[in-house]
């Protein structure tokens, strides 16, 4: 069976690419430290020597729209083009092309359906910065095949937080039951507290540093129970109107498992939002 060699949860800050490649006067003062942190984080994936990446993210009204909105969707295609015109425009993100791991996509879809998740699928998916950002930060050579998994954290009605955790647990089971000798890393990205298009946006730090501190503690300690006890669809409005993206972190806690402390934790307080980086090694870093 396939081996789950790393579980990684991260924020996906669309400005990293531009900040990290800017030079001279255009380079923001926080860029060097940010690059240092990202490169250290990258090393946690590199050392796991993955062959395949399952990438959990959320389409930001790019391909998925309100006339036909899936809650959870798995890509199954030989290739995925990536990044959209409005992401080039606003964030300076480059066009990218990924290779798909169709066999694992098929396995996740078939077994996921049988496990109680009515997963939607896509055979032609153009993916967005929720997946390209972690490739840029964690695997910039973009040399590994992927299985994209999209969640709806964006267009209510949304699945409840518990459902995200359950999907994470299921994804782990599906990866570990994939008849293959491949080494798989699951990487998911979301947000801590975040406000977009509201009065608390683009402040000197994230809109709710208290929530951020608590969230980092939940994730780092694998405290799914504590997190689920406090986080609801309603409660997530309070830290910022885009904070439902935190549910993708909860999904990743489900992949990592209850009570599993992260092996690597780092954060970086930036304007607008706090960056947060977590890695678990399910086998304690062996193999």
């Amino acid at each position: 069976m396939a081996e789950l060699v790393a579980v990684i949860a991260s924020t996906h800050h669309p400005f990293y690419y531009r900040a990290s490649t800017a030079t001279g006067e255009d380079r923001p003062p926080f860029a060097d430290e940010w690059v240092r942190k990202v490169e250290a984080f990258r090393e946690t994936l590199t050392r796991a020597r993955p062959d395949v990446l399952v990438m959990v993210g959320s389409d930001h009204f790019h391909q998925l729209w309100l006339d036909n909105m899936p809650q959870f969707l798995v890509g199954k295609a030989p290739y995925y083009d990536a990044n959209w015109y409005n992401e080039e425009r606003e964030f300076g993100l480059p066009r990218m092309l990924f290779t798909g791991q169709e066999d694992l996509s098929s396995h996740v879809l078939r077994e996921g359906l049988d496990a109680g998740f009515d997963l939607a699928f896509s055979n032609e998916l153009r993916i967005d910065h929720s997946i390209t950002c972690p490739i840029i930060t964690l695997r910039p050579q973009n040399d590994l095949p992927i299985v994209p998994v999209y969640t709806n954290i964006f267009a209510p009605p949304l699945p409840r937080p518990k459902r995200f955790v359950e999907l994470g647990r299921t994804i782990r089971q599906l990866v570990e039951s994939w008849p293959s000798d491949q080494r798989v890393a699951v990487i998911g990205t979301g947000h801590l507290s975040l406000e977009l298009g509201g009065p608390r946006q683009f402040g000197p730090h994230g809109p709710d540093p208290e929530f951020d501190a608590k969230a980092v503690e939940w994730i780092a300690g694998g405290d799914i129970e504590g997190c689920l006890a406090e986080v609801t669809l309603d409660s997530l409005h309070a830290p910022g109107n885009a904070t439902h993206g935190f549910m993708d972190f909860m999904l990743m806690m489900g992949v990592a498992g209850e009570g599993q402390k992260a092996d690597y934790v780092d954060t970086y307080d930036l304007f607008h939002t706090m960056e947060a980086y977590f890695t678990w090694y399910p086998r304690g870093g062996r193999s």
Partner: protein, 119 residues
């Protein structure tokens, strides 16, 4: 009231570079043109299979025609769509992050719970 149609306008304009410029330069004309020719198109379907029932109410049409992103927020338009499109149109006129900060200031009167964005 149709939050869905407001969102559909923001979504379809934001993804089209020419429409972004057209909406910036001629908001009222663009909204009128869009409502009469685009509002009822089912995305991915040809015109013969268009919907027959979608239209803005007067307040929605006016908010879009006036570039009134505060009113759009109050109406429950999706804040991500509004923000993204308005950054595309107006960020260029401000110092870095200046537009985003002004946008936040203009919404400072809003408190929780924010208007419902469910469609």
């Amino acid at each position: 009231m149709s939050k869905y149609l407001l969102n559909k306008f923001l979504f379809t304009v934001d993804r089209d570079p020419e429409l972004v410029e057209r909406y910036r330069e001629d908001p009222r004309g663009t909204v009128e043109w869009w409502e009469s020719t685009r509002a009822n198109l089912v995305l991915n379907c040809h015109g013969g299979e268009a919907s027959t029932w979608l239209r803005f109410d007067d307040a929605e049409r006016e908010a879009l025609a006036a570039h009134d992103y505060v009113r759009l927020f109050e109406m429950g338009a999706h804040p991500f769509l509004t923000l993204t499109l308005f950054i595309a149109m107006f960020e260029r006129d401000y110092e870095p992050l200046g537009f985003q900060k002004e946008y936040a200031r203009k919404l400072a009167h809003m408190s929780l719970p924010y208007p419902d964005i469910a469609t």
